[in-house]
């Protein structure tokens, strides 16, 4: 089960997920819903993931704290890492500044992947969420999320 809501960088990834017969995609109206969908699916024996833009992840603080952290429910999150030097949009830059300190403050471990070879670690990141019994976030950079990123 994958639940998510796209920003413009995550659109291609979610399109692939939606087209994959081995995954059940549950689109949501607000990212915090995906936190609930994934928790319910986890209790149902699935191996869920939440996929969203950084803006959505920043809006999930209450749910991450009162559901996942308070109950020790694992959650695997893939989010776009906006606001780096590859992203010159004013409002994304602001979100990029707080992306990692935000998770550090919540006590949520995270990785950043920026090269295709690193993606092999996604499975281990999912397992790490279950071992730690808490959310684990993998930030993906623009060149991984957008096929033609180099041209943009």
């Amino acid at each position: 089960v994958v639940s998510g809501l796209p920003d413009d960088w995550v659109v291609p990834l979610l399109s692939l997920i939606e087209a994959d017969d081995e995954m059940t995609y549950v689109p949501v109206a607000r990212e915090s819903e995906a936190i609930g969908v994934c928790a319910g699916a986890w209790f149902g024996g699935a191996r869920p993931a939440a996929v969203m833009g950084i803006a959505g992840l920043l809006a999930c603080g209450h749910e991450l704290v009162t559901l996942n952290l308070a109950h020790q429910i694992p959650l695997f999150v893939v989010a776009s890492l906006r606001g780096g030097l590859d992203d010159q949009l004013t409002y994304q830059v602001g979100q990029g500044l707080v992306a990692k300190p935000y998770l550090d403050a919540l006590g949520i471990p995270h990785d950043t992947m920026s090269e295709p070879a690193e993606l092999v670690g996604l499975g281990a990141a999912w397992t790490r969420a279950t071992l730690l019994k808490r959310p684990y976030v993998v930030y993906l950079t623009k060149n991984l999320l957008l096929e033609k990123a180099g041209a943009q």
Binding site: R30, S32, V37, A39, A41, F43, A70
Partner: protein, 200 residues
């Protein structure tokens, strides 16, 4: 209808469903009937997320009936979740909204647009055909059909404001134990692996 009567009716109708309880009155009244040790239910401590949690559970366990019992104070925090549930409409999911139009757990300030919102109208407009509201006990029988037959259902129980003042049946356990109780219930009764081979 009275809160007591609504929950007594739900309890009588309840059989093998997995139950997701919203924060506050939903959990309180369910626990008053079944006791806080009822492991067939998961009680949320996050407002606005019961429907989403129930949706994820229903999608992952399509052969198990799932009830969500939520309050309208919680639903208004995540009103878009009506659209999310309406899009998928799992046959095994029943969303039950106890609507008293106030934040009952904190002694009753009105929720936004308290007097006017037609929850069933919203659900129907979002594409949910099996939606109805119950404002008298005479309508319980029709509501039972909605709860006990296949198809996503959106049931609104219009309850009186202010649950009776009495001691809350507080659970003497919290977060992680709530998780383990519900997960072990699912593993034991439904033969699935939730916690993995180590069991924690």
């Amino acid at each position: 209808v009275k809160v007591d009567d609504a929950f007594q009716w739900l309890a009588k109708t309840h059989t093998n469903e997995l139950v997701v309880l919203g924060l506050g009155t939903s959990t309180q009244e369910w626990h008053r009937i079944f006791g806080p040790d009822d492991d067939q239910s998961f009680h949320m401590h996050t407002m606005g997320l019961a429907g989403s949690f129930g949706l994820g559970l229903a999608v992952a366990r399509p052969n198990n009936p799932v009830w969500v019992i939520d309050g309208d104070g919680s639903l208004t925090l995540s009103f878009g979740s009506i659209l999310t549930m309406a899009e998928r409409q799992p046959d095994n999911l029943k969303y039950v909204l106890t609507s008293n139009r106030v934040y009952g757990t904190i002694d009753g300030p009105n929720i936004p647009n308290a007097k006017a919102t037609d929850y069933v109208g919203v659900a129907r407009a979002a594409g949910v055909e099996r939606a109805m509201s119950v404002s008298s006990e005479a309508e319980f029988e029709a509501a039972r059909d909605l709860l006990c037959s296949p198809g996503f259902s959106f049931l609104v129980l219009e309850v009186e404001q202010g649950a009776p003042r009495r001691p809350k049946p507080l659970a003497n356990y919290e977060g992680p134990e709530i998780k383990y109780r519900f997960a072990r219930y699912l593993e034991r009764e439904h033969g699935i692996s939730v916690l993995g081979r180590l069991g924690y």
